[in-house]
Each structure stands twice: as C-alpha cells, then as structure tokens.
C-alpha cells in the first residue's frame, strides 16, 4: 500500500520533471544554436567584407596570414568558380565552386551565406562569400569559412547543466513523493485498519480523521455506515438469539434438512427425545441418522405431494416412543436451495391416556354386562316357569345373588378408586408399624392360603421403624396384593412376604409368589383400571380388574410407590416402597 502509493507519486513527479527539462533544453539549445550561428555568420561576413577591400593579388599572397588572423579558412575563387587560393588546402585541386549556394547567393545579392557539411574537411561549416569587383565587373570571390565546433562545445556545456538539473529534479520529486505519500497515507492507512477491524466483526468505535478534504468526508461516511451496520447487526443478532433460544428451548424436537436432504441442525429437544447426540446426526441423511423406515416414507410422501405432511411414527424397539412428526418446507428467497423442517412431538403419554380411556369404557361396559346378562337370563328362566321347581329356584336365586354381589363389589371398587382420585377418601394417617397391618391382612387370607395348600413364608423384622399411614388403607393394599398372589399361584406354590428397611429412608414390603407370572409388555399397564394380563383367567377367578389400580393409587396417597417384577411361569414380586419421614409426630 505504502510502497505503491509512493511509487506512483515518485514516477509521476519524475516523468513530468524530466519531460519539462528535456523539452525546454531542446528548445533552448535550438535557439542558442541559431543565435550562435547567426553571430558567427555576421562576424565572418564582416571579416569577409573587410578582406574583400584588399586587392586580389594581395589577398592571394597573404592568404595564410589572413586566415590565421581571422581564425577562419580563406578561399579565393575566380569568376569561373575555380579555387585560386585556399589557406588550408594549399594548392590541391578542388572541383568547381560556382554552384555552391553561398557563391550563387553572393553573385545575386552581393553576399552569400551557407551552413553545410564540408566533405573536404569533414566538419559542419559556415561559409560566407563576397564577390571581388574591379569596377563593375566581378573578377572573383572571397570566401571565409569556419567550423561550427564552438557551438557544439557550447551545447555540450549546456547539456551538462541540464543533466545536473534533471538529477536535482529526481531528488526533489523523490522528496516530494515521499512527503505527499506519507501525508496522504496516514489517514488512508487508518481507514484501511478501521475497515479491517469492522470486517473481523468489531463494529464498535468510530474513525477520527481531522481533515476536511475528501478523505475526511470518506471517514465521515464510513463512520455513518459502520454505526448503521452495527445497529443492523445488533438487531439481527438479538433476533437470532431469540430464535435460537426458542429453537433449543422448545420441548418439541426440530430437525432441519438442507437441500441435499442431509441434517443441518437438530435442537436439544430432539436430542433428548431420541437420545442421539448432535454430532452423531449432523450431515447425515434421515435414514443414516435414525434408520426409521416409516420416517423415510413420510418424508418421501412429503416430497411427492409437496405439502406439509403430518404422521405418527414410532421410534425405538424396546422402549417405543410415539412421535407426531410434521414435515414442512422452509421457504427461502426464490432460487435459494429449499430446506425442510421436521417437527416432532412426543405423543407417547397422550396415546397411552387415549388407550386407557377407551379401554376403560370398554372394560366397564363389559364388567357390568357380564353379571347383568346372567342375572337377567336367570330371571327370565324363572319367569318362564322354572319358579315352580323349588330346587332350581333356589339354585338360580343363589347365582343371581352371586352376580349381584359381584356387581356390588365392582361398584364398591370403582367408588373407592374414584374417591381416591378425587381426594375424597378420608386419609387418616397415624404412626403405626407395618407388622401390625400385615398381620391383620394375613389373618384374613390365611383360610384361602390353606385351602389352596400354599406355603406362606413370612420374613418380617420385628424392629422395623414405624411409618405414617392410614391403617385401613394399608390393610386394603396388602389384602389386594395377597388376594392376587393367592389367585394366580397354582396349588402347592409359595407366597413370600418380606418387610425390611431399604436404602434412603425407605421401608420395603415385598409380596412374592410362584404363580403364572405376567408378560413383560403387560407390566407397565398393570396399574390401569380393568387392565388384566390374562383376561379370561382373571375374570374366572372373580376379580374386578381394579385391585392393582387401587393399590397404585393408595400408594400414591401414601407418597410411596409400587414396583412389579415378573417372569412368565416363574412368578411375580410386588415391592412396595414406603417413605420414612423423619419429622413424624
């Protein structure tokens, strides 16, 4: 930058300087030459005229002396043009001189002058000729000539001076260029530095140049531009930050695909939902990243129809997550590459609730209808005449009663459940020991355990800390679980009841059986109302399908939790975790 500007200035000054000096020198030299030539010519002419006054013979005799005195070559020419005497050539023969321009001119005007190159002396010469007269008759010519070497010498001297002037000009232009470039460069360099700083992103500060010339105005404009730019960038940055925090903060998952269908960005919601890290999926296609055929199908469908597509897809095999995906195009400027946006919503919970609701209605209807059908059926049979048979009547009435009882139980259970859910059940917590409630419950089912020839193992420590619980509800929990254990354990099986302190201020009660077990996929749904792992068998055994549901809700009331582990054919273990609060009354 600096070098270039300096060079430009330097060469500009140098060229102009040299050009001026050269042209001036040339012109001056020409004038000088002309002037000198003229003066020499006049001087020579005067001498010639003076010599011409002498008689011819005298001139011829004294030619050498005259030439010496005047410092010029003297030539005497006769009227026919032949040289009769010459101070320098001596007696050598020369050609006829009548046609020489100075002789011709002298013949016509009385004096002739000419400048030309002399082949005989090999020099630039000036010739002056005057006719010699005797009376009115021309008898010859006298010619003086001298070389112009003095002029060349004079010009040479002037050339030397000119060269010195040019050298001086070089020096001066060098200095001026340096000064100029330095003076102009300083603000320009500051401008450049400032522009560089803005380019790297630092848009703060202003440029101060105390100058009113164009550079000062430029600096002013740059300042205005930078402040406007800064304002725009700050606005854009704020907008970007806002969008980015929306993008990363939203719970829905978002994926943006570039024009080549590769993943361009993923938000943290998506990372959480799929457990895939940002760096594992960026730059990959959807298939490479998630290997989900349904998702690919939805995307393909979107590409074909070119309209926003929405579909439910399932991610993962073992813990499936149902997601609602919406695919839409990100419309940019026309001609820009089109991007695609996929928005995912986790609807697993929603789907589950939906299923529970529909199942619940279906189940309630079914549970109520079964006993009702049999009540109505037996009533009709009685009406149609069987009432006359006392034996059958009694039997029928017993069946009707059984079914009515079952309906009653169902309604009772539903009421309990609704009560707990609405928080209307009276929860009377007191300090009590698990051992006591467990004992009461076991007494109630003891008879049935004996009937089925089950083995009961009781491992309850006697020094368990008391818990805070509602006695009746606790008994209800244990009864429901023991009831299930007895129901689903074949004859000769074992039921194990243990109670022990767990880690972290907990008390764990486990009721394990060696019964039929529950399939893995049913376990998460066991707390749902009317959900039965083995539908037919459970109903045959007289369950309402609400037992575990009630336990689950009661455990919630007690701020505890229930965990069910099971293996098909091996049995089921239900673990109840009761919290031990330290601040007990």
């Amino acid at each position: 930058m600096k070098i270039r500007l300096f060079h430009k200035f330097f060469f500009a000054f140098l060229t102009v300087g040299i050009l001026v000096v050269t042209v001036a020198g040339f012109l001056i030299e020409r004038e000088l030459k002309k002037d000198r030539t003229m003066r020499i010519g006049e001087e020579t002419a005067a001498q010639t005229r003076i010599i011409a006054l002498m008689p011819i013979r005298e001139i011829a005799r004294q030619a050498g002396k005259l030439s010496e005195r005047t410092g010029a070559r003297l030539t005497l020419i006769d009227a026919a043009g032949w040289v009769t005497a010459d101070s320098e050539l001596g007696g050598r023969e020369t050609d006829n001189h009548l046609n020489r321009p100075e002789i011709q001119e002298a013949l016509l005007k009385g004096m002739g002058k000419a400048v030309r190159y002399s082949f005989s002396l090999k020099k630039d010469m000036i010739y002056v000729a005057v006719p010699l007269k005797e009376g009115s008759q021309t008898v010859g010519y006298i010619r003086l000539s001298r070389p112009l070497t003095e002029i060349a010498l004079a010009t040479y001297g002037m050339g030397k001076t000119l060269f010195a002037i040019i050298l001086a000009i070089v020096g001066v232009s060098l200095t001026i260029a340096l000064l100029f470039s330095l003076r102009m460069l300083s603000p320009i360099r500051r401008l450049a530095a400032f522009a560089g700083q803005v380019r790297t992103g630092n848009i703060s500060g202003i440029l101060r140049i105390d100058s009113r010339d164009e550079i000062g105005q430029l600096a002013e404009s740059i300042n205005d531009m930078v402040s406007a730019l800064g304002e725009k960038i700050r606005t854009a940055e704020a907008e970007r930050r806002k969008l980015e925090s929306v993008f990363s903060g939203m719970r829905a998952g978002v994926i943006v695909l570039d024009a080549e269908n590769r993943i361009e960005s993923v938000n943290s919601g998506m990372e959480k939902m799929t457990g895939r890290q940002h760096r594992d999926v960026i730059g990959k296609t959807l298939l490479e990243a998630f290997r989900n055929s349904k998702l690919h199908d939805v995307l393909e469908g979107f590409r074909e129809r070119e309209e926003t597509a929405s579909e439910e897809i399932v991610f993962g095999d073992h813990q499936p997550v149902t997601m609602d995906v919406t695919i839409s195009a990100i419309r940019g400027q026309t001609g820009a590459e089109q991007k695609t946006m996929l928005v995912f919503h986790d609807v697993t919970r929603l789907k589950k609730l939906e299923r529970i609701r529909t199942d619940f209605v279906a189940n309630v209807t079914h549970e109520i209808r079964t006993p009702l059908t049999s009540i109505i059926g037996f009533m009709e049979t009685l009406q149609q005449g069987e009432i006359d048979d006392p034996g059958k009547t009694l039997e029928f009435l017993r069946t009707i009663h059984e079914n009515a009882e079952r309906l009653n139980r169902l309604v009772d259970d539903l009421l309990i459940l609704t009560g707990i859910e609405l928080g209307e059940t009276n929860f009377h917590p007191e300090r009590l020991t698990i051992e006591d409630a467990l004992g009461r419950s076991l007494t109630i089912v003891a008879e049935r355990i004996a009937e089925k020839k089950l083995k009961l193992i009781e491992e309850v420590s006697h020094d368990l800390p008391p818990i805070r619980a509602d006695r009746d509800q606790l008994i209800q929990i244990f009864l429901n679980l023991l009831d299930n254990a007895v129901k689903f354990t074949p004859e000769g099986g074992t039921i194990t009841v243990t109670a022990s302190p767990g880690a972290e201020q907990e008390l764990i009660v486990r009721i394990a059986d060696t019964g039929v077990g529950i399939a893995k996929i049913d376990i998460p749904r066991l707390g749902e109302r009317f959900y039965r792992a083995d539908k037919a068998r459970s109903r045959d055994l007289g369950g309402t399908g609400l037992g575990l549901s009630i336990v689950k809700h009661l455990m919630n009331v007690h701020q505890g939790r229930m965990v069910i582990e099971s293996a098909m054919g091996r049995g089921t273990t239900v673990s109840l975790y009761f919290p031990l609060s330290e601040a007990m009354p």
Binding site: G283, T285, E288, S293, I521, M568, G569, R570
Partner: protein, 229 residues
Amino acid sequence: MEEKRHINIQYDKELQDVKDSLIYLGALTEKAVVQGIDALLNRDTELARQVIANDKLIDRLDTELEEKCIRLLALRQPAARDLRFITTAIKINGHLERIGDMAANIAEKAIILNQEPFLKPYVDLPRMAEVAQGMIKESLDAFINEDVALAHKVRKDDEIIDHLNEQIFRELLTFMMEDPHTIHRSLIISQISKLLERVSDHAEGIADMVIYMVTGEIVRHKPTSAENG
C-alpha cells in the same frame, strides 16, 4: 462417501440413494427380527402374521436395490472406493434379504407354538435374540458410519450366539428325554434357535463386508479369534 465428492453430482446422488435404500431395507429387516421375536415371546399371533406379510416388501426392495446397483456398475463404471461400496451394497443386500426371510420363518414357528401350551419360560432364547438383534443393529451402524472397530465387535459377538445355541439345544434335549410330549415344541424351539444363529451369521457377513468396504481387506474366512464365520 461423505468426504470425497465427485464432479458429477448426479453420480453422488445415485450412490447416496443406494446407501439410503440399503439402510431402509436394513431398518425393515431389523424390525422384522424384533417383531418376530416379540411375537414368539409374547405369544402374539397377530404380530407374527404381520411379520410374514412384510417379508414380501423386503423381497421386493431387495430386487429393486440389486437392479439399482447393477445399473450403476454398468453406466458409471465405478472404480476403487465406489466399486467396493457397490459390491458391498450388493452383498449386504443379499444378507439383509436372508435375514428378512428368517424373521418370517421365526414368525411362522411362533404361530405354531402359540397354538400349543407354554412349554417353559424362555431364558436363553430371549438372550440369544437380544444378541442377534444387537448384531444386526451394530452391523448396520458400522456400515453407516464406516466403523471398522464396531464391525470387528459384531464378528466377535457371533461366538456368544454359537455358545447360546448349543446351550439351548442341550436344555431342550433334557426336556425331550423327560417328557416325550414336549418333543414337538422342543424341536420347533430348537429350529428357532438355529434360525437366530443363522441371522447372526448374516449379521457377521454384513460386518465382513463393511471391513472390506473400508479397508479393502477380505476377512470372511479369517478367524475372529477361535471361531470361523
């Protein structure tokens, strides 16, 4: 393919299309195996039927993909890395199609077993299915990410499968000797175990091809450590 790009963008797109189609097929067969096993373990006949029906789609995609690869070979005359990629794709495609068939076979056996009483709680079979599923998953992951280390792990996992297969066979043998009524069911379970063993062999085949694709080395007949492929 990611880092090296061809001047011809269309060619790149075609290669990516082959890769995506292969992953799509992989996703389907992976799901088929998972569902086939689920149908067996949860005694879900409906799901088993679905798996069998889906196999038709897998077969169709297999043919389509092979045609795509052959067309690429003929028209683009790929060299070096691309040639290895396409030959790999053709072979993996074959493995996946066979895995799909086996998933359908497992589903068929599940339907037969579901009509009979429960023989015994499965212990080793779910474990074996889990390992086999893991192998398919990892072999596909290795293919997508060109992960040679993962491919080697898949090759090693095959030993676990072989071991479990033997264990299941011995256990079933005792069942059959104790009670001849269990022979039919035991034989079917034994067949399922054998099918899983073959599924894992195919997964190993995919892993072999991934190693070939990335390194150019053919490891198919080289021992992993003791067992051969």
